[in-house]
């Protein structure tokens, strides 16, 4: 190798962080204003949800701190009875809408993230098993995936919710609702992950090094995983992003059907369900602010997902 080559090589190995910033993805990101704005919105919303207990002026989940007489205070105006003022007003229970949104977003995001994580774990594991083992295991898994795909998510969620509610002792239902939502949404969303992973596994399985490992009697599974996971990282990331937005909306939809987060610990969806009752009554802020927050959150995540999908697809660059 000539000096020049060596020089080029050394020039091209900067630090990890610089490399990440210099990567194609980051480059594409810096040149996509929509993606940057979306990322900023998501970041702000997620951070404010995480920091809700410190940012929020009130704790809407502490029933003892609520004063019912504060109910229906318009944004920025003093309440007629208590003279208290709230930035975004209060809801029907006298809860500060701003604080409730922050705490509600926490629940929506928690449900969304956990559901997607669950779907991802189930999908990746089943996809790997199906692709690697083949045979009847694959048939069964992919058949179940087909059924799952035909069976609409909201019905699956309602079924699971119904069963889980029945077997949970009433005393725990309050806390259970959220876990059940996660389970319901997660279980209805694993198929996409499984399909992608199975596809990648099939490709990887036919590669020479795996065949070779097999010939010499080694178990190629762990080698494969090391090769498969990096390969499916991109599509899985894209699916996960879009699924996150869908999961958050699914939670909201389920709350309309009465299977969402409880009203004492409302999610954004529950807030919207409650708020839509005040559509005609003039208390627009009870509906508008949670709805706008949900829209901003889901839209930004979706836009990020869109950008990610195109940016991570080498053939579309």
């Amino acid at each position: 190798m000539s000096d020049h080559q060596a020089e080029i090589e050394t020039r091209r190995t900067p630090g990890r962080l610089a490399r990440a910033w210099d990567s194609d993805l980051a480059y594409s990101f810096r040149h996509a204003p929509v993606a940057m704005v979306s990322a900023a919105v998501v970041l702000i919303l997620v951070l404010s949800a995480l920091l809700a207990p410190w940012i929020a002026p009130y704790d809407p989940f502490d029933p003892g701190s609520l004063n019912l007489m504060n109910g229906f205070t318009p944004p920025g105006q003093p309440n007629a009875f208590t003279q208290e003022t709230f930035v975004l007003g209060t809801d029907d229970q006298g809860r500060d809408v701003f604080s409730t949104i922050l705490f509600g977003m926490r629940i929506s995001l928690f449900v969304g993230f956990s559901a997607v994580l669950l779907a991802m774990v189930i999908g990746v594991v089943l996809g790997l098993l199906a692709g690697y083992l083949g045979g009847w295991v694959e048939s069964v898994i992919m058949r179940v995936a087909d059924i799952q795909l035909t069976f609409p998510a909201i019905l699956v969620a309602m079924l699971i919710f119904g069963i889980a509610k029945g077997i949970t002792p009433p005393a725990y239902r309050d806390q259970m609702a959220i876990w059940v939502l996660i389970l319901a949404i997660g279980l209805s969303d694993w198929v996409q992950f499984a399909r992608v992973v199975r596809g990648a596994t099939l490709v990887e399985k036919s590669r020479d090094y795996v065949q070779a490992a097999r010939l010499v009697g080694r178990r190629p599974f762990s080698i494969m995983i090391r090769h498969i996971l990096p390969n499916v990282l991109n599509p899985v990331l894209v699916i996960a992003t879009i699924s996150l937005a869908l999961a958050i909306i699914a939670e909201a939809t389920l709350s309309f059907l009465g299977v969402g987060a409880p009203p004492t610990k409302p999610s954004l969806g529950t807030l919207i369900r409650i708020g839509q009752g005040f559509m005609f009554s003039g208390e627009w802020w009870i509906l508008l602010f949670p709805a706008l927050t949900l829209l901003a959150l889901a839209l930004s995540i979706n836009l990020l997902g869109d950008w990610l999908r195109d940016a991570l697809n080498p053939r579309l660059r």
Binding site: M1, S2, H4, Q5, I8, R12, Y27
Partner: protein, 328 residues
């Protein structure tokens, strides 16, 4: 003598990227006459396919022609766009792609694909188009062409599919055919047949063929003249026999030495040390100098000469078989 069918003059193709502007094709010039096959050879990334794509106007964004000209029978076509360019494609210039498996639309019969091309460019009735399609298949050596015209691409073998692709490229009777690695994806036994077919069609129809390949064997077999590309530039251009037997550019020589068919002799195959530099990291001076055992300080400092600046044969400061001072 009339104009050559294709004439490329100082063609430059650039790709703006965030690391600066890349030049996959940098000042390339050559002609192809009717009935002539010009082989274009080089390693992957040398710019040979990009040249072909530039000629037929299929450069993918953001690559674009920034200077030079392309003349088709004397008329400039490098500035044509949209509809005007589309009329030329297929009708006056045909193209053959590397992989016959993917170049045919799997959901349409070969007959459909042939007739739609014929109807697009020639003023004939559908029935006549169909007759011509059968004739085109027949001409490229598809047995029982009339029966197979209703078949889907997946019903043909790889070699047969490439014949179909050739029929498609030629069915509207173009003057120029760009064959981009037409044999690379095929079995060795089939490669020779396809090369022979191309050669025959070229002779019979007087078509000018630009045969892009990295396989010196194919060049030696089929081409009349050969253009060797390295890092976007023409390294050497000349009649096949001359280039093969007496390469002037050190790169060509290295390429010959590493090709079993072309070298013929009993010598051990030799490798060219190193690899072609990336376009975004071209060395100062002649692009080949880091790998050249004849490199002098001048080669490291001054970019290699253009072909026309030399003898029109090898773009090298110190060509093989010439006294070193000739161009000094």
């Amino acid at each position: 003598m009339s104009d050559p069918v294709l004439s490329v003059r100082d063609l430059v193709v650039e790709i703006p990227t965030r690391r600066g502007v890349l030049r996959p094709v940098d000042g390339v010039s050559y002609d192809i006459a009717a009935g002539e096959i010009l082989g274009v050879v080089g390693e992957s990334g040398a710019g040979k396919s990009m040249t072909g794509n530039a000629v037929i106007g299929l450069l993918d964004r953001p690559a674009r022609i920034t200077s030079g000209e392309i003349l088709l029978t004397g008329q400039p076509i490098h500035r044509l766009q949209g509809e005007a360019l589309r009329r030329l494609r297929g009708r006056r210039m045909g193209m053959i792609f590397q992989d016959p498996l993917t170049s045919l639309n799997p959901l349409l019969t070969v007959g459909d694909q042939l007739t739609e091309t014929i109807l697009e460019h020639l003023d004939v009735s559908p029935a006549e188009a169909r007759e011509r399609a059968v004739a085109a298949l027949d001409e490229v050596g598809i047995p029982a062409a009339r029966q197979r015209i209703g078949s889907y691409p997946h019903e043909f073998s790889g070699g047969m599919r490439q014949r179909v692709v050739i029929a498609l490229a030629l069915c509207a009777e173009p003057e120029l055919v760009i064959a981009d690695e037409p044999t690379t994806a095929l079995d060795v036994s089939v490669q020779a047949q396809i090369v022979a077919l191309l050669k025959r069609l070229c002779r019979e129809r007087g078509v000018a063929v630009m045969l892009v390949t990295h396989d010196m064997g194919v060049i030696a077999e089929a081409a009349d003249r050969v253009a060797v590309m390295y890092a976007g530039r023409l390294a050497e251009l000349g009649p096949v026999r001359d280039v093969v037997t007496a390469a002037r550019h050190p790169y060509t020589a290295g390429l010959m030495a590493s090709t079993p068919d072309a070298s013929r002799g009993q010598r051990r195959l030799r490798q060219i040390p190193g690899a072609m530099p990336r376009l975004d990291a071209l060395p100062v001076g002649c692009a080949f100098h880091p790998r050249c055992d004849r490199a002098e300080p001048r080669c490291r400092q001054t970019p290699g000469p253009t072909l026309s600046a030399c003898d029109g044969r090898a773009a090298c400061w110190f060509p093989l078989g010439q006294p070193k001072e000739v161009l000094a």
